[in-house]
Symmetry: C2
Subunit: 274 residues, 2 copies
Amino acid sequence: MTREELIKNIRSKQSFLCVGLDPDPTKMPAHLADKPDGLFEFCKGIVDATADLCIAYKPNAAFFECQGLKGWEALDRLAAYIKTQYPEQFLIADAKRGDIGNTSKMYAQAFFERMPFDAVTIAPYMGTDSVTPFLSYPGKWVILLDLTSNAGSLDFQMMTDSNGERLFEKVLRKSLEWGDKNNIMFVAGATRGSLLSDIRQIVPDHFLLVPGIGAQGGSLREVVEYGLNDSCGLIVNNSRKIIYASNGIDFAEAARLEAFNMQKEMASHLKMIL
Amino acid sequence: MTREELIKNIRSKQSFLCVGLDPDPTKMPAHLADKPDGLFEFCKGIVDATADLCIAYKPNAAFFECQGLKGWEALDRLAAYIKTQYPEQFLIADAKRGDIGNTSKMYAQAFFERMPFDAVTIAPYMGTDSVTPFLSYPGKWVILLDLTSNAGSLDFQMMTDSNGERLFEKVLRKSLEWGDKNNIMFVAGATRGSLLSDIRQIVPDHFLLVPGIGAQGGSLREVVEYGLNDSCGLIVNNSRKIIYASNGIDFAEAARLEAFNMQKEMASHLKMIL
């Protein structure tokens, strides 16, 4: 998917919401948790109930891998389902991959050729050749971990060199050698508030994928204040607050209501720019 | 597997060789590349031919994931085969995982509960809570990326703070808060030569998993010179030079010969200490 198509979808849906699909059998409705294809059915239920309110879905690979083969089958089926039924959705594999060049090439094949994902989240620690193989696919995206939403993000990402440059800033700057606003985005946690404006100093035009709203405590208002640009430039993810809004048979309707409320709030912010 | 068991295996086999299993259909023997279970059969052939010469196997998840469902099935089957037939082998999932705490927990389940791996390679970028869930399994190991063998490793891992501490050193030091020599190892590339002695300043007793010998150009002699400690403290990986020693029907014998030569060289180094 091109940047222009993504922006068009944001404008037409008045939403920059990404729904994170982290299906956990201990949290999902009991009538699905025990079914052989419960993982897929649960995610499908959420997708069908929210597709007009969001512009992206982000299946989290770990929640599928931990179920073994039936989990991978569910991920495979889910990715195909979303891109077939809702081709306008930006489909993100939240997989945090990254390895030496010849190995990253294989991960890129897994997510971009075997499965129809538009983007993969990538860890930058191994540098250039761990990232660039993902950038050789036209219309596909790297979403580089930059300043993450978790507590541990402060351990290394804020490391500062003798010129005052922090690691998360170095990652941004280095990435400008690898690609541009048309094929790279960055993970920037909603829990990092005003640091988003430091990110915007270096990448004013790139899209940021922002997790950490909801269960992790980040605020949408703050994300918009520091991160919105004149093409929106934000994809804000919510997983748990939406997909676990109810663990009864009404889970899909409850998810829709949460997504609806978020979309409404997003629309009010978008009015100013799009 | 405990540290003591690992050292015992190194002593009894006079080897600290890890065989990396990166099965690539474009490089493997033609009579296997086209078979439905060729990925498994190829790796099984290598394993059966080398198991008495090495102390660890390291399947590379990317090379299985890129084959889709049949690849995951092969990885699952291979892990079970190795731990059933050769339970003394230290089985490493080279998967470079790492995510926020609740997600890393799911990756740990995937590799330590669904599959019988002894260790997983983990990227440190997201910090404490991305690593610690893997450390709650007795007898299982985290192998933390520290100073990798690829060209891109210099982009961030050598970043230096105002006290002169480099990122790869910060990762080592931080990890001492998470675990110890009994449950954490570090990836340290053979291509980094004398920097291995800087690593040994901070973690004299930990095991290092050393890739980069062979196709990537690192030297075993140098790795031993800078990295060996009095419990060996090294697991040296070779993938391509062994598994692609021949692409004919003699691939397993050719792999055995390469592994045999490496084991002989390792035995000569071990004589001094074990």
